[in-house]
Amino acid sequence: MDLELTADQRDVAEAFARVFARDSSAERVRAAEASGFDPALWKALAGMGAVGLTVPAGAGGSGGGFVELALVAEAAGRRLACVPLVEAAVAARLLADAGVADVAAEAAGGERVVVFAARPAVAGVARLVPAGAVADAVLALDGDDLVLAAGAPGQPVRDLGFQAAADRPLRGDGVESRVVASGAEAGELWTRSRDRWRLATAAACAGMAAEALDVAVRYAAQREQFGVPIGSFQALQQPLADAAMAADGAVLVAREAAWRHDNGLDSWPAAAAVAFAHAAESAVRCAELCLHVHGGYGYTLEYDAQLYLRRAKATRLGAGDPDLLWEQIGATAIGKGAP
């Protein structure tokens, strides 16, 4: 076991950390908050090959693994990037896997914003898809079909997580639908992509958790009350320490799930489920604590705590009721029988 990043991995992590520090600063996030999308950041990421990171080189991508995508997603989560990085990366890879070469290449290059919908459509509509309000096309499961639906971006809503969420009809007026796969194949492709979405989104959540914790700790260390830094009160140290365990654990489970995926271990989908469940919960927990540590300030729009809270809670909700996921994890453990 070696938890250190390889030199290549470190390069990826550091390069993207720099990009997000510059192009997803607090000011940039606030500027993009209303629309939920930062086109300049998107362009910068696409230019660096982030969207097609896991798409084979021959299919227009960079031929990287999900470990690299997880590292980029972690950095994106730390900075609350207003781009559908994970949704687009997973979609591009799916299109490449499914042999839809032309769209895959465009999607991988970021020229077209194509996003994966992590929940199946209902009555022909992919509901509240992150980036649905800006995407050129959506990839969604519609009954037995895996559908690529291009058309005008959906009507934006003011979504909790400023993720440009919108409903996207998969058929009907102005929508150009293409069935990418059907039946069992569609189910398999979609499930695999959903699980990839889970592991990469887990990494994004881990980044949010870690950064929300760091913000809280920095504030607690300098803010004085009753003549001492509030971070010296056990009443705050205890929950902050618990949050640190949750956040460190989130980084580890997310990275390991990606590693299992890239190493072809059968256990990767189960690991992805655990990673998302834990990391999403930890992100909300760290963000709530971050807000609380800031006292009344945390509640004001001027401070960043509320941004972390909203994005974290929204990312968790976006996957549906968390109880269903816990149950699924339990069922997987039971299904394997007595270990």
Binding site: L128, D159, H292, G296, L301, L317, P322
Partner: protein, 384 residues
Amino acid sequence: MDFSLDERAEAFRAEVREFLRAHLTDEVRARVAASGTYHDAEFHRAVADRGWIGAAWPVEDGGQGRDRADMDILYEEMAAAGAPVEGLSVTLIIAETIRRAGTPAQKERILRPVREGRLLLSLGYTEPDAGSDLAAARTRAVRDGDGWRIDGQKNFTTHAHEADYVFLLARTDPQAAKHAGLTMFLVPTSAPGFSYAPVHTLSGERTNITYYSGVRVGDDARVGAEGQGWEIVSLALAFERGGEFAAQLRRLVHATVGWAHAAGRTEDTRLLRRLGRVVAATEVSRLLGARATWLRSTAMAGAVEGAMAKVYATEALLRGSGELLDATGADGLLGPDSPGAAADGELQHLYREAQISTLYGGTSEVLRGVVAERRLGLPRSRRR
């Protein structure tokens, strides 16, 4: 042992509900949502017209001589209905303090207009570097002729932009011990040198930062003696209550039940479990609050019990609103301004609002310390 409210109290509750049906119109709600101010002048005057502002004051002070339990009912029902009652609540805390500790002239100036719904007051306690540590206030008031000159800054002066006065805690003696050098003032917002800037919050609520730059007030603006500011704050804090928080939980239950019916989720065991926990927390919070009110009415103190009710209810609100929002899944992403939002966005709104509830009026950590020392008799922690 008698858990009932008497018939008169129940009749009053019915009266308040009927009032709310008539006066808490969609128009009022829309104005509140748009302004982010949980005060509405028209609604406020309608409450005043019933004589309910200061209704618990003795008749000689212009009140109706109602009991405190009645005022609790008033606040509870208003909070449960989501009425804009915060301006009223803050105004009454200050007016009650003036009634007890003010000069005859101050009472004359303040009490009647408050009762008539013509005067709005706001709190100026906390400061950028003070937070929970109110006694660390650095805003200065300096003797200036026969009056005072005030310079400084206060945070979270909610309603300052529409209020007539700020109830301001200022340092008058920087040499004296921390708690001893403070004095309380009632500063008119019309005074030259007073200004404010809006501060917007996660729930859409608007508050203010207020600035005092050479603000001149007469000595008649002083509430209580010079150097007695901390005693006045303590008196005022004792009038803050916890009843609203149980009412917030009721709102949460109400919104969830409505949503469950609308969304066909009435048999979803995942929802039912979480709702059941919130229902129980609502009952516990209601009773902890009722106990504090009862203790106060019997003059058996009740301040620690009030803190217990506040912490219990607000922590339950924070946890419960988060869990019930989880139960809505992706539909919970939509807020009150989006069609198709689960529970018309009310669950998301309550989750946002809950974040501040464990902070204001004493953070949960500070109040738990109070409970540990004063209810459990544990040795004082080394907090300061």
